[in-house]
Symmetry: C2
Subunit: 363 residues, 2 copies
């Protein structure tokens, strides 16, 4: 245990650990509090680094942050691999976004046009071009697009690597649940507790349930495709993330619920959409079904920066679907706030005080 | 440990334990050998007692045995409940067999006509009559039938109850795998080892893989239907077995494979068929996916009786899909063979020597 650390981070998910790593590497004494490091949303997450495919209408500022963070990922992954001595499954084959039916393709095209207007690199492909890139795709797909800069990382490798890197830099992971901010005594307290930020700091973070499957290629080989595949299949949105290990992550529902049960209908819809897009997945082992809770916010964007009326407390939560991709930029900017006292302009749209000061307007 | 027991049973599934119970209750000293009692096919089985719905073309002798055993079930369940002091989930609401599409119904009707020619109690019902009995059934079902005497039991309650009853009667369960018959020294050796009978005794038993799901009604209540429901849904055969606990067993594939992996396509087909027949199942939790290996035989019928050329060795295996329903009759007849030396005429069609004496003709 540290006697009064410079920084106490509440939450040992990717965001909390990366902040701890950055601060410890800058010479601060850092404690990270978590009853079960890496057991939250990151345990369920697929690990897509997809600022392009995740650029949705009306989320322009979020798209800017996603893009900035994704651009940091190659260097971040390399530095982390070096610091931790562990591979984090960073892969750069890019993402294919596909539409199964004419309606699916029409919906996708509307979004690609918007993404192109933002200057994002999304390249429409004909069915034959899709199948040239990934012969495993269903022949009846009506079309798709390549988002070449949308990559992936393996969250289940990322978390232990970040912990190792943070600990090697001098941070201490303290087991145990923090239920009140006042229970932690440190120069700066960082709330990186995902959904727990609501109870801890009154922030407008709510759980958004996501159900996810993990398949495994039969026979011990790798999956029969290399790109991340995202798509619309008869109106159902699904993603397929292949790993070198043979694992394919299939996700995900988005539900305004706070339970983590796996429900038959969700599994049915995910499997049907997955097999519609990549028929060979029917032959894959189903090795895991689980659900996690994303920390959602009123505007789907994270909450980053000093808490109004709480000197010395900084929020780094509410990352919703984007916790993995936003890990590098969150860590860099929050460490900059703490160590240098400098608020990067990138942070401005994500300040905690944007929801107003009345706590009851947040919930 | 017993010094040279009268009877050594190899295999502590329902069949082996019930034989042990019957023999011990008749005063014999009985040992049951199994490395993991109740971990075989019975752990996966749904526990339907369905001689009518399982009466298929060309299996008339098997149908006779199934009917005889099902008739013994009410008394067997009552006696076992008394002996073990444990409920085994015996339920007598009957079975509804349904057809989703016109083609499904046509296929089902052909079988019902055959079953009626055998004098079996199967009563066709119109869609409105089906829904009167089970409002949870899909409105678009084209028709069905009631097999009122096809009941159910819970195999996961049955096995521990049988073990308790056998032990209370004096039988001893010996942990450990028997790999050769000659390793067991007893007056009579009973091979009740399921698929293990092939390696142990050269019997023509092969694994038939079955994948099964377990759902659970949300909110802690019971399922929204009481009958066992079996059906054809767009050519897919599925059964749904509701338990008081809220569990619904959904099964099952039949595959000529010896692995026990759970495969995405099988889960997809089972879930789709289940939700097609009973839409509310989409809202149920998916709590378990697993696969087991049924002990199949060349003619789908069990192998019951003295092994040719092996004095003192009796087979009680090869029960394929019917191990649970056939447990009472198997136990009674095999105990009769051992204790009284009497071969019931019911056994005649199931003698081990029916496959010929050349081992290579069995495999």
């Amino acid at each position: 245990m540290l006697s009064r650390p410079d920084v106490a981070v509440i939450g040992a998910g990717p965001v909390g650990l990366a902040i701890a790593w950055r601060c410890a590497a800058r010479g601060l004494r850092v404690a990270v509090h978590d009853p079960a490091p890496g057991s939250g949303a990151s345990h369920v997450a697929a690990g897509m680094l997809a600022p392009v495919a995740e650029a949705y209408f009306g989320e322009r500022e979020l798209t800017g942050l996603l893009t900035a963070s994704a651009a940091r990922w190659p260097a971040f992954a390399a530095e982390l691999t070096e610091a931790a001595g562990a591979d984090v499954g960073h892969r750069t084959e890019g993402t294919l976004v596909v539409g199964l039916t004419g309606d699916d393709l029409a919906e996708a095209r509307r979004l690609w046009a918007y993404q192109q207007r933002l200057g994002l690199p999304v390249t429409p492909l004909r069915p034959s071009q899709l199948r040239d890139r990934e012969p495993a795709l269903a022949p009846r797909l009506r079309g798709g697009a390549l988002a070449a800069t949308d990559h992936q990382v393996d969250p289940r490798r990322l978390v232990p690597a970040l912990r190792t890197a943070a600990e090697r830099a001098g941070a201490v992971v303290v087991p145990g649940l923090v239920t009140r901010l006042s229970d932690v005594d440190a120069g700066t307290v960082v709330v990186a507790a995902g959904c727990g930020a609501a109870a801890l700091a009154g922030l407008p973070v709510r759980p958004v349930k996501g159900q996810v499957l993990r398949l495994r290629a039969p026979g011990g080989g790798g999956p029969g495709f290399r790109h991340v595949i995202r798509g619309y299949a008869d109106g159902e949105r699904v993603y397929l993330v292949p790993r070198d290990s043979g694992e394919v992550v299939v996700g995900a529902t988005e539900e305004e619920r706070s339970d983590t049960t796996v429900v038959a209908g969700a599994v049915l819809r995910l499997l049907r959409a997955a097999v519609d897009l990549v028929p060979e997945l029917a032959e894959y082992d189903l090795v895991e079904t689980l659900a996690g809770l994303r920390p959602g916010t009123p505007d789907n964007a994270p909450i980053l920066g000093p808490l109004p009326g709480r000197p010395g407390v900084i929020a780094a939560t509410g990352h919703h679907r984007h916790g993995i991709v936003l890990t590098p930029v969150t860590a860099d900017l929050v460490a900059g706030l703490i160590v240098d006292g400098v608020a990067d302009p990138l942070l401005a749209p994500f300040r905690p005080d944007r929801f107003g000061t009345e706590e009851n307007t947040w919930n």
